[in-house]
C-alpha cells in the first residue's frame, strides 16, 4: 500500500472505531452492544491474523521469528572532548526505550545528511541535559514512583558519569555478532565506527 492509502486507512479505522463506540454508548441498546462486541472481536481478529493493524488496533505479533546465530545491529555512543566514550542511555531521549534507540542508530546511517544531523543533534542535546541531571544528583528512570519501564537496559548513574564532560560527539557503531549455534557463547563480536556527528 502507498503512504497515502495507509494514511487514509488509519484515519478511517480510528474514526470508525470511535464513532461506532460513541453510537453504541449513546443508544445503549442490547442489539447495538451485541453488534459492537462481535465487530470488535472481528476487527481484532483481522488485525491479528493479517498483521494489517491500524490504530487503535494492534497485531500483537511478539517475537514471531526465530533468532539466527549471527546478527547485526547499530548502537550509539557518546564522547566528550577528552575522548571518554560511553554508550547511550535511552532514558536521555525520553520517552523511548533501548530497542527503539538502536533502531534510530540504524536510521542515522540510512537517512540523508540533513535528517541524520538533525536527529544526531537531538540525541546529543538530550544526552547533555540528562547527563547534567544525573550528575546533579537527579533521579534515574528507575525511581520508585515511576511506572516500571517496559524495557530495562544499560543506564547511567552518577558513578558511571564521573569525570565526563559535555558530550561533543556522537558515534554510530556497527556491531556484527556471531553466536554458537546453541546460543551459549559469543564467537565473534566485531565493531566498526561507521559514522561520527559533532555538536
Amino acid at each position: 500500500m502507498s503512504a497515502g492509502a495507509l494514511h487514509a486507512a488509519s484515519v478511517i479505522v480510528f474514526s470508525g472505531f470511535f464513532l461506532a463506540s460513541f453510537y453504541v454508548i449513546a443508544v445503549n441498546q442490547a442489539w447495538a452492544r451485541t453488534l459492537f462486541i462481535w465487530g470488535f472481536v472481528g476487527v481484532l481478529t483481522v488485525a491479528g491474523v493479517t498483521g494489517y493493524a491500524f490504530w487503535p488496533l494492534f497485531d500483537w505479533h511478539l517475537y514471531p521469528h526465530t533468532a539466527e546465530s549471527s546478527f547485526v545491529f547499530y548502537e550509539i555512543r557518546l564522547s566528550d572532548k577528552q575522548g571518554h566514550e560511553i554508550p547511550y542511555d535511552a532514558w536521555a531521549a525520553s520517552p523511548t526505550l533501548t530497542t527503539p534507540v538502536r533502531r534510530y542508530a540504524a536510521r542515522l546511517i540510512a537517512y540523508n545528511d540533513t535528517r541524520a544531523e538533525e536527529l544526531a543533534r537531538f540525541f546529543l542535546v538530550q544526552a547533555n541535559m540528562y547527563r547534567e541531571h544525573i550528575q546533579g544528583g537527579g533521579q534515574s528512570k528507575y525511581a520508585w514512583y515511576v511506572f516500571p519501564p517496559h524495557q530495562y537496559g544499560y543506564s547511567w548513574d552518577a558513578e558511571e558519569l564521573s569525570g565526563i564532560q559535555t558530550f561533543s560527539e556522537l558515534h554510530v557503531f556497527k556491531r556484527e555478532v556471531q553466536m554458537s549455534e546453541d546460543g551459549k557463547h559469543i564467537l565473534v563480536d566485531r565493531e566498526n565506527l561507521v559514522r561520527t556527528f559533532s555538536l
Binding site: 454508548i25 536527529l119 524495557q151 537496559g153
Partner: protein, 303 residues
Amino acid sequence: MRLFINYFAEPERFSPFNLLVARVVLAAYAIWKLLSYRLGELQHWPDFLFEQSLHSPFLPFVSYREYLPYVQWTIAFLIILVAIGVWRKWAAFLAALLLAHTIAIHYVVTNSGATFLPVVYALILYAVFEFQDPYHRTTLADIGRRGWTRSKSFLQPGKASRYRLDWLKWMLVVIGMTYAFTGLSKMASAQVNWFSPYNLSRTILRENIMSFGELLPAAALMIQSEVVLTMSTIATIIFEVGLILVIILRRRIDIFVLGLLGMHVMIALTMGIFFFDQFILFALFVPWDALVHRFTRGVWPTD
C-alpha cells in the same frame, strides 16, 4: 476457591462488587502509567519523524506537540471521574479517545506505547456496559456516610440477587485474544523451529548483548539448560494460545493465568523486558467479592 474468574463462563455474580474494584484498580493503574510518561519531551524530537510516520494524521499540526501534556492531565482527570463515578460513561469514552490519540503520537518514538491499548479497550468496554454498574456517585457517598461495615450496599448496592459483569467478560476475551495472536504468530512464521531450545537461548543471548552488553545472571543460568529452554518454549506456546481456548470453552483459567504471569517474570529476569501491565490487568479478574466475604467472616451477604 478460584484465583481468577472466567467471566466468559460465569458473567453473573451475587454481587457487582468486582466492577467497583476493577474500575478503581484500572483507574489507579492507568493514571500511574500515563503520568510516568514524559510526553512533554515529544516536542523536542525532530519534526520529520512525525511527518513521515503512519501516525502523522493524528497530529493536527505536525510540528506542534506542546499540547500533549495538557491532554495527559485531562485524561488523568477524566479517569478520576470514572473511578469516583461522576459522569463516568462519557468520561470513560472521552478518556479512551484522548488516550488513543496521545499514544498514537507517542508510538512514533517507541512501539512500547502499544501496552496502553488494553487500557483504551477497557475504558471503551466499561462505557458500553456502564449501565450494569450500580455503584453510582450517590451509592458511594451513602456508603461513606454510614460506614461500610454497617452498609449492605457495598456488596449488594441494589435489590437484584444476580448481577451481570459483561465488562469483565469481554475484557477477558480481549486479553485472551492478544495472547493468542502472540502465540499463533510464532507458529505461523517459525513453525516447529520456534520450539528449538537454541532458538530461545539465541534470543536471550542476543537481547542481553544488545540491551546490557553482558548476560543478566538469570539469563546466564537459563541458557545452560536445554531442558529448561525446551520446557519454556513449549509452555510459552501452550499458555499463550491456550488461554483463549479455556476462556471460550468455559474452563478454569487459573493455571493459564499463573503460567503467563510466570512467563512474564522469566522474560523480565532473562531479557529485561517487563510487561508489568499484565499483572494489574489480570488482577481485574480476581474474585474480590468472595475475598471480602471471607475476610469479614460473612458479615456481608453472599449466595
